[in-house]
């Protein structure tokens, strides 16, 4: 058994064990399926949604919103950090203001979001965007502060312009930081899309969770969460692949 297989099997056993405990507790009456759902019922419900295809539709909607918000947030967060990194004065001026915008609960601005972006996909994408943006921004900016001046100098001396320095030194140099920001941002983009769906809509896993919770259908809530979990695992796997490729120059294991 290779290491990768071992990891996979341990993971699967853990999940099955967790589900088994959950089911067992429900059957024994230790936990109340009323609030916690019950794996077998959840699976039934999930199956019914697989049969009628509705789960795929809603999952796809949420995935689309989250990904769109994620990409926009990643690109703009990164670019904004790079621009501010170039001008320390404005970075200092804007620092608390950026933090304030980050700290404003988006839900308080929901009416404005609806006013500007409607109740369709756009407002959900914007919700996801406003969360991802900051996570990527803060990490990218911190990465810039941690850059190795020597590397930049060596390339600058060769007559490299701003764009070349950016492209050949800074971007790869901050990539471990950006990747860490993207990892946080990935989860947050889902949360953002879900919150956006909460506020108003008629599709997506967030909408599903919201209407099911509003009708106290615990199993349906957990069905949506299951679908979400699979979605997260899939995107996470893709992300890890990309990360490994981007950072393949870095020694894999540090012996702490």
């Amino acid at each position: 058994m290779t290491l990768d297989q071992k990891i996979l099997w341990t993971r699967i056993s853990l999940i099955l064990f967790g589900l088994g405990m959950w089911e067992g507790f429900c059957v024994c009456g230790i936990i109340d399926p009323y609030f916690f759902g019950q794996p077998t019922s959840i699976c039934q419900d999930l199956w019914s949604m697989i049969i009628d295809g509705s789960i795929f539709f809603h999952t796809w909607i949420t995935l689309f919103e989250a990904m769109a918000g994620f990409f926009l947030g990643a690109v703009f967060g990164c670019v904004a950090a790079l621009i501010l990194g170039m001008s320390p004065f404005w970075a200092k001026v804007l620092d608390p203001l950026i933090m304030v915008v980050y700290g404003i609960p988006r839900i308080a601005l929901a009416p404005l979001f609806i006013l500007w972006f409607g109740l369709g996909l756009a407002s959900k994408i914007v919700f996801a965007f406003t969360l991802v943006f900051f996570l990527v921004f803060f990490n990218t900016f911190a990465g810039l502060k941690n850059m190795n001046q020597g590397m930049i100098n060596t390339i600058r001396v060769m007559g490299a312009g701003r764009r070349q320095i950016m492209h050949k030194v800074i971007l790869p140099g901050i990539s471990p930081w950006v990747m860490a920001g993207l990892k946080s941002g990935m989860g947050m983009s889902l949360l953002g899309a879900l919150v956006g769906e909460y506020i108003g809509g008629n599709a997506g896993l967030g909408w599903m969770i919201n209407s099911a919770a509003g009708l106290f259908e615990t199993n349906r809530v957990f069905s949506a969460i299951f679908a979400l979990a699979l979605l997260v695992m899939a995107t996470n796997a893709v992300f890890n692949k990309i990360e490994r490729r981007v950072l393949k120059w870095r020694p894999e294991n540090i012996n702490l």
Binding site: D32, Y34, F35, D45, S54, A110, P111, I114, L115, G118, L119, Y198, I199, G200, G201, N202, W207, N210, S211, A212, A213, G214, L215, F216, E217, T218, N219, R220, V221, S223
Partner: protein, 310 residues
């Protein structure tokens, strides 16, 4: 065929049995018959749904009568063009050991949030049972149906102002006792001293009425037809028609919820002065409304009357 239909979006405050006629009209294709292609957008509560209406993102809004009154007070004039329920379909459910409303003295009552309609109803019921809503009970905001259930279960609150299907389930599973229901004429008299309570309604902006009277008329026509259909149909038929709107809920729960709420189904869709006054009174009790809200300011029965052929 579908291409000729006028696209309309209706926001609803929440997915729930309050808006049954809307789902029936959808489920029985009554909007299509009127030349409308309606889609429903559920929001996180009435205020957000109404913001969507105001910002022009949706054309119709299914919400509570009192909310419309409150919005008018805040300076945005809109009109109620149709009524879906003319009694309150909130229920007061206590923990199993609580036997009567009076037994709630010194206890906590959960509502969705302070200042919401559930808050007002809770205070009203307490006052009606001889308790001082300011001193003898504490109202506590506990959010939506599922958080309400867990707050009650965990004894964080001793009673909740709930609705269907939670009420039905709490009682069926022995997790609560029904302390008050408000959705029949006698109940309404008992607690509100009024035959009716204008509860769930269809709202449009004044501007939309001025610019698209025929669309409003088409929409209301379908609503009235649905309301009349509900009056004639069996509970099973109603439940079957709306079941797709409650995906994931077992049929029995849907059916039972419809039966429980059936006393509140509007007969005509017309908002009465009494109903308006009761709603306003409850919202005033919850300190949401501070001014008098004249009937004509927020109600426009002409479309419903047209639809009824009056």
């Amino acid at each position: 065929w579908a291409g000729d239909l006028k696209k309309i979006t209706c926001a609803e405050a929440v997915r729930g049995f309050f808006f049954l006629p809307l789902y029936v009209a959808m489920g029985q294709n009554m909007f299509q018959e009127q030349g409308l292609d309606v889609s429903i957008n559920s929001a996180q509560g009435g205020p957000l749904a109404m913001q969507a209406l105001l910002s022009g993102q949706v054309q119709f809004c299914a919400t509570g009568h009192g909310q419309v009154a409150n919005m008018w007070e805040q300076g945005k004039s809109t009109k109620i063009v149709n009524q879906m329920q003319d009694k309150c379909t909130f229920y007061l459910v206590g923990r199993p050991e609580i036997k009567s409303i009076a037994g709630l003295k010194g206890k906590m009552i959960g509502c969705t949030k302070i200042g919401a309609e559930t808050d007002g109803v809770g205070r009203y019921l307490a006052a009606g049972a001889g308790l001082d809503p300011e001193k003898d009970i504490t109202m506590l905001g506990v959010g939506g149906m599922s958080t309400m259930a867990s707050a009650l279960q965990n004894d964080r609150v001793q009673a909740v102002v709930s609705w269907q299907p939670l009420t039905h389930r709490l009682i069926k599973e022995g997790k609560g006792t029904l302390l008050a229901r408000l959705n029949t004429m006698p109940d309404s008299y008992t607690h509100f001293d009024s035959p009716s309570y204008s509860f769930s309604v269809i709202q449009v902006t004044d501007q939309f009425i001025a610019q698209n009277p025929e669309t409003v008329q088409q929409f209301v026509n379908a609503m009235v037809k649905a309301e009349q259909w509900i009056g004639a149909a069996s509970m099973d038929d109603i439940a079957r028609t709306v079941a797709p709107f409650f995906a994931g809920m077992d049929f029995d729960t849907i059916r039972q919820s419809v039966i429980e709420d059936s006393g509140a189904f509007t007969k005509t869709g017309i908002v009465t002065q009494k109903g308006h006054d009761t709603a306003v009174a409850v919202f005033t009790a919850a300190k949401i409304l501070k001014k008098e809200v004249p009937f004509e300011a927020i109600v426009d029965n002409t479309f419903t009357k047209n639809a009824l052929g009056q």
